[in-house]
Amino acid sequence: MQPFRKHTGIAVPLLRDDINTDQVAPIASMRQLKPDYKTMLFARARQRDDGSEDPDFVLNKPQFRNPGILVTGQNFGAGSSRESAVWSMLANNILVIVARSFADIYRENCLQNGLLPVTLAPVDAETFEARVIAANGAAPFTVDLEMQRISGPGGADIVFEIAAADRMRLLEGLDDIGLTLKHADEIKAWEARMAAAQPWLQTAREQRG
């Protein structure tokens, strides 16, 4: 995984709650094993009924065509666990999402892919959202994970909190499987213990003749 230290980009305001992964990555755009993740992002919202581009959708506006940071509401990424809802962000160079809150599985999928999920204290979130709206894509914001700061037009730096373990994982781009396999002996020992104590959990196959 690519380490994440700092990212500078245009902050796009999509200030709604409960945006789900069906909206972020519609299943209809996943018809190939290797789909185009760039055009997948909000594929349906980007289009009008006749298939033409919807000029009112925020990512279609000229000033937001090269996004870097998505700014959104509560419970972002609800619904399906599909990871394409993260990959389609990365394909558009959106490496940071600042949300009021994240759905659990979506946040996990972000961490797995080096996408930084940021949740600000409510008062800071209001300030930041207002600054993003005011900036209107004219100047970028920078999110610095090492310093835990967001800087950009319209005011002083905003400090954000993130769990130390999540921060380290992103900063170092840690190989998640490698980290776990340091415990390979303990996994093996657990299996041996369970095979003795509850053997039915360590076998999975047809039992009757």
Binding site: S81, R82, A103, L179, I187, W190
Partner: protein, 470 residues
């Protein structure tokens, strides 16, 4: 410290705590599906990492499979590449595939419990948000993404932050034709679509104890629709009787040992939860969603709410948007609205008792003119059992399509979709915009309520249709 059942299962599966503070939780049963697994196989092979326990890993073909009789890989042209990649990747890694034509093929969340693969107190992972369906048996299940799926393949553990615990007590007694689907929708309406975020939920109380296993699974299935990390019901004699004799269930002396262990699977009476709720289910009506998230719910006799009464600006905007999308007005009843399409199926409501409840409504009636109605059994086993009972004939005689098993119209990944602006009554789990087809208007209900809509052509109180006391 008196422990909750969640604590007991978590602690029993805790292998180690990683340097980043995450707990490594052993996964007893890992079930994959073709929409996501091929990508994970490829990633793992690039890293030259083997699958650690192919004998505890199983592949289901469910998301993209056609529901047409005589189906092949190509019947849904968009699915063929996924089905083939799943088959090939599973073979390379020594993983059994529940493939097209397999007598046990079906939706992972339906198949894993019904063959006795998933057991009480076991941990279970699926790269799908509805993994916790098997919580109905007292198993602890987690949905995950594709990279996490690869992590489990390589290690057989999940690296998790310990979730908080929630207890939902369901008091009272359900009226006739009111099911766990109605209870679940009511809970989501009360707690909100993010009310369970960060929590593992234990469902308890007299309503649960009286509930058959299939309904417990429906309830746990919908746990994710309030954002819950997982959800389950502590097992009891109903559970043990349900499991006994299933093909993969323990037999002989191992059954006795397992049963003794399973009887310890309960929260201590004085265990503390991080959050507790009580819902009185007496007099609960059949529920139906009016909007575009599963928390926008009404009793069947209720009226569509007015955004003017919303608690904040964000909620008001969401309600206005939902009303426009669904073509509804504040204050109107849903009852009586004409319906274009009815879907009975999905991991939420496609088990045998679900189909039987719908068939009870349909028997001797016809699908209303202009309505397209389909039933898709959750597994090939359910399909055979339903056919043995003659349920398929009841549906076919009435004018329903009777399909081969799979996820079908729930997310439309197999091409089964509604047409733009159709009003759909569906037994599935998500009424999101465009989910069942572009511009489709989905109302989520129980199988009985969906069947009532099919035969009347309108949103209907099934209790009135059947001459009950409503």
């Amino acid at each position: 410290m008196p422990r909750t059942l969640f604590d007991k299962i978590w602690d029993a599966h805790l292998v180690a705590t990683r340097i980043d503070g995450r707990d490594l939780i052993y996964i007893d049963r890992h079930v994959l599906h073709e929409l996501h697994a091929p990508h994970a196989f490829e990633q793992l092979e690039k890293q030259q990492r083997p699958v650690r326990r192919p004998d505890l890993t199983f592949s289901m073909q469910d998301h993209t499979v056609s529901t047409q009789p005589g189906r092949t890989d190509e019947t849904n042209p968009d699915g063929a590449a996924f089905l083939r990649a799943m088959r090939a990747g599973s073979k390379r890694n020594g993983i059994r595939v529940f493939d097209l034509g397999d007598p046990q093929q079906g939706i992972s969340h339906v198949v894993a419990p019904e063959i006795g693969m998933v057991l009480p107190g076991a941990t279970h992972a699926v790269p799908d948000s509805h993994a916790s369906t098997v919580g109905g048996l007292g198993a602890l299940a987690f949905g995950c993404g594709t990279t996490e799926l690869g992590h489990i393949l390589a290690t057989q553990v999940m690296a998790l932050k310990r979730p908080k615990s929630m207890h939902i007590q369901l008091d009272g007694k359900l009226d006739a034709h009111v099911t766990s689907k109605d209870v679940a929708l009511k809970i989501i309406a009360e707690l909100g679509v993010a009310g369970g975020r960060g929590y593992v939920v234990e469902y308890a109380g007299p309503v649960i104890r009286a509930m058959p296993i299939e309904q417990r699974m429906t309830l746990c299935n919908l746990n994710i629709e309030m954002g819950g990390r997982s959800g389950f019901v502590a097992p009891d004699d109903t559970t043990f009787n349900w499991i006994k004799g299933r093909p993969w269930a323990p037999i002989g002396s191992q059954w006795d040992e397992a049963l003794a262990q399973w009887r310890t699977l309960a929260s201590a009476g004085d265990a503390e939860f991080d959050s507790e709720h009580v819902l009185d289910c007496s007099n609960l009506e059949p529920q139906i969603t009016w909007g575009t998230d599963p928390g926008q719910v009404l009793g069947i006799s209720g009226r569509v709410p007015d955004p003017a009464g919303a608690s904040d600006q964000s909620q008001r905007a969401a309600m206005e948007s939902a009303l426009a999308y669904m073509d509804l007005k504040p204050g109107m009843e849903l009852k009586g609205l004409p319906v274009n399409r009815v879907f009975i199926g999905s991991c939420t409501n496609s088990r045998l008792p679900d189909l039987a409840a719908a068939a009870d409504v349909v028997r001797g009636r016809k699908v209303a003119q202009g309505v397209t109605a389909m039933v898709v059994p959750g597994s090939s086993t359910v399909k055979r059992e339903a056919e043995a009972l003659g349920l398929d004939q009841i549906f076919r005689d009435a004018g329903f399509f009777w399909g081969e098993s799979g996820c079908s119209m729930c997310a439309g990944g197999n091409g089964d979709r509604g047409k733009p602006y159709e009003r759909i009554v569906s037994t599935t789990n998500r009424n999101f915009e465009n989910r069942q087809g572009p511009k489709t208007r989905t109302h989520l209900t129980s199988p009985a309520t969906a069947a009532a809509a099919a035969v009347t052509g309108r949103i209907t109180d099934v209790r009135q249709l059947l001459g009950g006391n409503a």
